[in-house]
Subunit: 236 residues, 2 copies
DNA sequence: CCTACTGTTATACGCACGAATAATTTATGG
DNA sequence: CCATAAATTATTCGTGCGTATAACAGTAGG
């Protein structure tokens, strides 16, 4: 009986591969269905490696959560490119909303993962800390976008007011993202981007169309209705 | 060694007691930490009863979820009493917002339970069905409230428009409810009710104060702050 | 080419789980 | 007050889990 042949991987590659396999398992089978054996099978290795790289299953799962949140917030921020000579604030905010309410962020997998881990916040301060950090980053980023838009429109933009607006818009995004990802079928979720943009304009007191209400995006073609694919897309 | 003395309970009482013990366990230990032995210990009975009343642990958990959602939606609807001679629509909507963004609905336990089960939707159509029904009920109720308010203010209230408004406000409530319940400490969650009311006024295009922005509720005293304080903890 | 190192596999152990079955107690109706 | 059914307990069984340990194999330096 011969041993399995294997490949030595760099430390970070192996760790990353195990974390991604973990997220795949949690998304596919839930936390309770995620076992060390399944994770390592998904990653194509044997169970012993979990101990070798993370010490325990719990540690692996915590690291996988931090990895996921890092990806989510990074992608959310990237969608609105705030460069030195970036687009005007209104368009940045618009892209931010779009980025959160279309594929790939609007995904049943992602919201499922996200919710599963939220359920752990109460039982382990580590999860709470990761969540808090991600939320803070998201909120502050949004607050800066809001401030820029208000300035451009000559509206009052003192600190507390911007923060209140950011909290409300963030709530709106979160709620729509969740229900849209779960896709209960009560409405076509393709309406969400427009709906969020219009709602944001009203929340900020902007004139209708200030964020470019019509159509999905300046450069994208009109047919966005096509259902996004990616049934089992792993976080890359 | 003598046997444990026990009490015969009516079928529904026993079932309910087991479902509540299940929710307690899930909230306290997560789904993966919820075992038949723990559930029945919490309920003060022996593990055999799970099989007797629900057939299996999985069935028990599904029933517990349905029970939870039933409670949540019922309480949400009750908070705005829509009787024959109930209060004006604006106050009903206001109470609805308040009911969802103050204790006891704004609770870490509840959002933790809720998220845990959301994570199961993808793996079992039963959970998806329960969620869909609860969401539909919530949304339709909200839509009716919105319609009433728009009519009272002489604003356009055709069907599609009301629905869009309801979707947005529902998203807002969901998002604020979640982050507020998790209480990451980035802001005092006592500001949420006012914030939501103001945001809803803007979303619907109502004049400021139309929903009664000042103070928590007509009958409640001004000091609502006394509850959980948790002042803005400064991360870093 | 050898040797030391460590990433990786293979195997085993102890434990807690869900479920099934048997024994016993409570309630009910004539 | 007894007989009978149903509710509840007590115990057992097999399984899969997380983890620990030892054997093996790929890799690098001399």
């Amino acid at each position: 009986m011969s041993r399995k042949t294997f490949q030595r991987l760099a430390l970070d590659e192996r760790r990353q591969s195990l974390m991604e396999a973990t997220l795949t398992c949690v998304a596919r089978h839930g936390l309770d269905g995620t076992t060390v054996r399944r994770i390592t099978e998904e990653a194509g290795v044997t169970p012993g490696l979990v101990r070798h790289y993370f010490g325990s299953k719990d540690e692996l799962i915590k690291n996988a959560y931090a990895y996921l949140i890092g990806q989510l917030t990074a992608r959310a921020s990237e969608s609105a490119d705030t460069g030195e000579d970036g687009p005007p604030a209104a368009q940045q905010l618009r892209q931010f909303l779009l980025g959160n309410l279309t594929s790939p962020n609007l995904s049943e997998d992602k919201v499922s993962l996200w919710a599963t881990f939220i359920g752990q916040i109460r039982h382990d301060p580590f999860f709470a800390e990761i969540h808090r950090e991600g939320y803070r980053e998201f909120l502050e980023f949004l607050e800066r976008l809001v401030e820029g838009v208000l300035i451009d429109h000559g509206l009052p933009h003192r600190g507390p007011q911007c923060r209140r607006h950011a909290i409300a818009i963030n709530g709106l995004i979160d709620g729509l993202w969740m229900e849209g990802s779960l896709n209960s079928g009560l409405y076509n979720r393709a309406i969400l981007p427009d709906l969020a943009i219009e709602a944001t304009e009203r929340l900020l007191g902007l004139p209708a169309g200030a964020l470019g209400t019509a159509g999905p995006a300046p450069h994208a073609p009109a047919s966005q209705l096509q259902e996004e694919i990616a049934p089992c897309a792993m976080p890359e």
